[in-house]
Symmetry: D2
Subunit: 368 residues, 4 copies
């Protein structure tokens, strides 16, 4: 957004008088376990912002961490904050200076609000802006009836996809960013870890031209989902030797790339062993703690490249994702295993491990 | 192949005694129009070489030029030469020092024999080696019962593809090289010109993850083949405005990449107009003569990148092609419209324009 | 700039009451030849903007075209417009929402004001934004006592460089963008055309690690300046055969890259002949009209890459340039041949061809 | 070198009758500590090979490990082997089929003899060929009066450099490969570890266009050498906080790239902390054992790329190095601290830590 466009800003703008002044939201109200459904004010729509009526929202492992008030949440969050960083909404108001969106547009949102002026932002690396504020973590998010977002963070959802698919473009973008960090066309790819983003990555790699996509996990449930996302082969790492199986599947060559989605040290080591010399491992999964690596054997002697991946390229990743979805080459529906209304049930489901991606329907909206 | 290595070649080595000493071949016998079927000696298999029994061979526009003895042929060739630079064969003898191939292997061949020691060769640009000698042009080629090739030029054909598909890996490699010269995954691509390599490029771009592949040509026959190679849309440049149609098909964005396969100045200009700002045009089609371009409007103001493409990356292109074919993502069969025995009929067919790729079956081999 | 930061905008802000309300400026007042010095209002400083007191300004060939009211100017401009797109200034006011600059900061400016929301802008290609408005062409520029610019377009000038050097960071950025479009480290580079941007490119290529920089031009005056910018060799294209000389200077290898800065068809052909197979030619010089090329011989058979270059990468180019200047590795002073007060004299000087870069000192400022 | 090509080698060829049949060499004669000076046969010069009279040879940490018979040596080597993998020599005989070198040529040598036919070799990754054999480790090397090498491994030494500089092109190539693994032009670079290759890397980064080169080590002796190799700043990691100092030196930005040359876990962590978000760390130093990393904080959240580096790109690295040396931009002499005749004294010197690169002069050759 070019701020010079914002000159016309109307400070008095607010949701139209006929709209409700309050709404329901899932709020992290205070430090400690839990999250609650509260009645809160509908946010104002500032200059350069969009006010969205939320249509669907994805629940993420991070939400689980926040509810459980883990160490990361404790160090990062300042309650009260409305949760929710994955969602699709309909524009109900466009703030002053917004030219590219209009009432009625259906948009998904980049969750990282970046400063635009630091060195990272100015050199095409906004995804590692040091002043990033995240929707649903640092500022109010989308587990609510309405949410206000910077217009530059909005991306018009492709028309051919379902509301549920549009709701998960944010985590899908993580998968796209990871996969697109290295070559995919005509390459063999292993995805280690089949949580929702891993499952997305399987579909992304296939749609983006990988000629063999091998998925690994320790859960039969998840491997079954990986198969439904079109993995060419799946490996149960709890019972099989991953590097051996990958070698057998690739004529002894090893894969050209590994997308590490599990955060498991063993998965990373297996991935590096399964990688051909000169290949790349793109690392999105967050390990629980520091872990050690045999650098010589697994990285240096193999001439491997490792990418640390966070967020999404702004907004190249969104453009790539848009093309993948719009073309119909990528269908994320098999990875969306549950669509439901109640936040706390969704959290319980995530905790059970028997779910792919879980999508919430806001109060009073039909899931039909 | 480093031809300098061949100096030690043992000229006296020859096919085993039980094999025939002569064979049939299509020979450019002398300067001037034409080519003839001749009985010639079976080539010897030197150190570092393979002797192949030819199983299938593709006929190329270049062969037509040679038969017609055009200006390029006159300046380049030194008859007599056995024609044929696209073929698949079975190893009947491996020369001294060859470790990676054995009798009975089925191999396709890179047609460029490079020096291995010039700056281009030593810095990963063997495809533009200044001392390149081409099979079937500068040295005896594969329109024959047997052909001798440097072992480094051989590539084991994927087992899952037909003999005809294996026979055309050389021109297919041109398409792969052109397509892979820029990003394909999640990108929109136009292919201008649907001769055999253009048709291959349509299939390659799709299999390699392009999310929209638009093919243009002036021949309804060829556009029909493009559709069968899975083009998402085709444009008849003889009746439609190519840039306008591309814009309509891409929401006004233009395509991310153009693969220019026609050599037509108009196709190149249309391609550049249809390209989005910052896109790439990869140029394989050879124009008949120099032509002019509005550099400012079509190249500089648009921030476009143009790649001159020749041959195939050695041997990255072959590895990518192998993956595409082996995975079954790429099927080139719709582009192979004719399989036949007689060379002169094939040439006539090519001249008619009513053919995709034409593949020859050597004398006495069944096409079943 | 993140527009969400602009919420606090004060509509009543304007140059402080004690500041003059009018100023002198070089204005293209109406269609037709010429430009005049006028008294005009000091611009207001809007939200997200900076008001600068201009300290120095560079004169560009484009200014000459505008004064001469050439075809391009006629089609593009809508007088009255204050000219000047190269300048350095001191911040005298920071508009609402500007966090990164403060009064007294010395800043150079990107001249392209981009939309920030089109596909090009959102995918890291803001330099080819289709809605670009240019300071001094489409909106009022810096040949004036004051100029208002979007804060996102400002770049803090390195402290170690002169005002004159800071004034020409915009055209210097063209040279950096062109040079950095391909590899420089450990490469041999030819710069064809030694106008001011070509001269800058010579210095940039050297400072950025090119191991041999060869400059060509048809003017002895300019070649002398090229020598002073540290060209390793210069070639007078009016008397010498450029490709032959380049080959002799590079042990017959040809150069790895050509930076085409002249817009001359002959220079481009010479550059392509002088380029090694697999090299790159980056094309910034604007030819006067379309011209023809022997694509086969100069581009395709050589496997060459051609980059169309416009503007500067936003803002990667500025970061690279900042590092080059700040380190002292790059010194542009030899290319700045004249520092003067009178605009019309500067234009006359440019027209004479006996100048490198000409820098203006605003009325009443000392050049000491 | 494609070893399959050597099969035709004529075992009976040998240095011309007038040449000596035996020579002195430093031989690892048997498992266990030590190495001895022995009289051994002058090697034969096979097809595709060069026989060199060794003029100078560099001593490497690896030689120390071999003398000390460390775990790696025990697992890898099969004595007897003549040591020495860094050397320059004069061609005294060119084997059959060698066209590009002639008697009297002065050549440095790539020490990795690669298969040329594996997937890595065929896709431009010969430096990670899985069948690599190393001169002086797996086959007889250059600590001898004569050595036979594959002609493809030879690189004509630039004429303007000293014999000592030519002798160390192999380890210098490690530095070039590491430095050139990411952008250098206009970038800030930290080199962690100032052993000989780290010292070379300092000079390479400067010559290749880095605008700030910061060297770190724990030895005052080595930091002094780093200064003489033109480091812009040095940091004594035994007394100073490396990340803090780097931030102070880079206006709080951090460096764009880190070249890790020490193998020290602390240096790697410091390097990652000192790196800007989105930067790259290229890793050549071999850690003594596996070590742990805080992946989240140091790699993933920063969006960092890590390159495992081994050997030299064949032969792109050599071309880049040639340009750097030939241009005079790079002068490695300050890093060469000792030139001497006796191998065992050189080993002792290395063990003392009070040396940069040590170069050997063969028996009976003058060091003048």
């Amino acid at each position: 957004m070019n701020p010079t466009k914002l000159a016309a800003r109307d400070e008095t703008s607010a949701p139209a008088g006929t709209r409700a002044r309050t709404m329901r939201a899932v709020v992290k109200a205070a430090a400690g376990m839990g999250a609650e459904i509260r009645e809160v004010p509908v946010p104002a729509c500032g200059a350069g912002e969009l006010l969205l009526r939320v249509l669907r929202a994805g629940v993420c492992g991070t939400d689980l961490h926040i509810v459980n008030w883990d160490r990361w949440s404790q160090s990062r969050m300042h309650p009260p904050v409305t949760l929710g960083h994955e969602f699709v909404g309909e524009v109900v108001e466009a703030g002053a200076g917004v030219l590219d969106f209009a009432e009625g547009d259906r948009v998904a949102c980049e969750s990282h609000i970046i400063c635009g002026t630091c060195l990272a932002c100015r050199t095409g690396n906004g995804h590692v802006c040091e002043r990033t504020r995240i929707l649903g973590v640092d500022v109010n998010g989308g587990f609510a009836e309405f949410v206000a977002v910077p217009a530059v963070n909005a991306w018009r959802a492709p028309r051919n996809i379902s509301l549920e698919a549009a709701a998960v473009m944010e985590p899908l973008g993580n998968a796209v960013h990871t996969a697109f960090a290295g070559p995919l066309s005509g390459r063999t790819i292993a995805v280690t870890g089949c949580g929702p983003i891993g499952l997305f990555a399987v579909g992304v790699a296939r749609a983006a031209g990988a000629t063999q996509v091998i998925a690994t996990d320790v859960s039969a449930y998840r491997l079954d989902l990986a198969r439904r996302m079109n993995a060419d082969a799946v490996i149960d790492a709890s019972r099989e030797n991953v590097p051996d199986r990958v070698m057998a599947l690739t004529q002894g060559r090893g894969v050209d790339g590994v997308l590490e989605m599990s955060g498991s040290p063993q998965a990373m080591r297996d991935g590096l062993l399964a990688l051909r010399n000169g290949g790349r491992l793109s690392l999105l999964g967050l390990p629980k703690e520091p872990f050690e690596l045999d650098w010589n054997r697994l990285v240096i002697f193999k001439g491997v490249t490792i990418h640390g991946i966070i967020g999404r390229r702004m907004y190249e990743t969104w453009y790539q994702m848009d093309n993948l979805l719009q073309s119909g080459r990528l269908d994320v529906r098999p990875a969306i295993t549950h669509v439901m209304e109640r936040f706390h049930e969704a959290i319980a489901l995530l905790q059970s491990g028997q779910a792919g991606k879980v999508v919430l329907v806001p109060w009073g909206q039909s899931t039909a």
